[in-house]
Assembly symmetry: C2
Homo-oligomer: 196 residues x 2
């Protein structure tokens, strides 16, 4: 195999879910793409690495501080949605249904992996709650063991501060089929049934 191509393939295989064949396809695309596209690709990789930092208020990724969401006067700063990662935040944003602000905790409590409250952005969250003005905290964490543990921990920490704590609903996804729902999802959907 030709050397420069080989090292590009090795580098591309670092991307999540990319094996030999996909890396090869990407490499040939890169080889044949027009110079402007390649300049843009390299430039945007560098910019992402150099210009992105965490918002000092919500810890989302941003190129300006505070981020566009935190500094938007139209957002309801009394409603705080807690998410694990910036990707989860994007997912909530895309729904278009949440008009409050966020707090990204960058991880979940996991005693097995020795991740405790001091390893994630929980202290900053408590500080925000204590500084007042927050009426409701909406927990939007993954329905995993770590997500549940983190949600319970947060609910317990915040409850005493006279703040309403809620969590997003877990159940059958829209467009999903009851036939294929796993038993855990189905039991959650039954538990959390709502009157109509």
């Amino acid at each position: 195999m030709i050397n420069p191509l080989n090292s590009l393939i090795t580098a591309l295989k670092q991307l999540p879910g990319v094996g030999e064949k996909t890396a090869l396809r990407y490499a040939f695309h890169i080889l044949n793409a027009n110079p402007d596209d390649i300049r843009e690709l390299i430039g945007s990789i560098k910019r992402v690495r150099e210009e992105l930092r965490l918002c000092s208020s919500c810890f989302n990724l941003t190129d300006i501080d505070p981020c566009v969401i935190c500094s938007d006067p139209k957002r309801d700063s009394g409603r705080l949605c807690v998410v694990e990662t910036p990707l989860d935040l994007m997912s909530v944003e895309k729904s278009g249904r949440f008009k409050g602000v966020y707090h990204v905790i960058h991880g979940l409590l996991s005693p097995l992996d020795a991740i405790g409250p001091d390893d994630i952005r929980i202290k900053d969250l408590i500080d925000r709650v204590e500084s007042g003005d927050i009426e409701e905290i909406i927990l939007a964490l993954n329905p995993t063991i770590e997500g549940e543990a983190t949600a319970s921990y947060l609910a317990q920490k915040v409850r005493s501060k006279n703040v309403k704590v809620s969590r997003i609903a877990y159940g059958i996804p829209i467009g999903g089929s009851l036939e294929y729902a796993d038993p855990l999802t189905m039991s959650r959907a039954l538990e959390n049934r709502t009157e109509i």
Copy 2:
């Protein structure tokens, strides 16, 4: 969406088969990867673009001219395998069964797309054949209409030069199931049956 991230996602979506979600995953990987990996990724993209050229003999991609295959004295230069692309060449090489040399024609004849013999590396192939020393030409072209047309054209051009022309076998793939073979593959497999 944050701007530098957005432009990286746009750039990554240019890669073949990459949509919004995959680009997002790649972008976050790039954001969080260690600096050495990113330097290597950018470096190898640049090197592939700057250092790769076509071998003046076989027109495969190479960083030295003639390429490692053409300049290998252990390869049988009397046997020439004709492939469409460097990727196809790699596929033949990986089988480990071909010890001759190659000729990459970089395209297939396609009257509908106005691609004629002068648009691909056919003239160079004829020149190599005419310069003597070549005993057999093995056509390893895709079994498509364009592949067939190109194979017929080449066979006809070369036949008069006292050179043996063969083509790779098309049939049921090893590990494939007869049950799922398409009718065309099956009829090819029947036509090209070999005595045992």
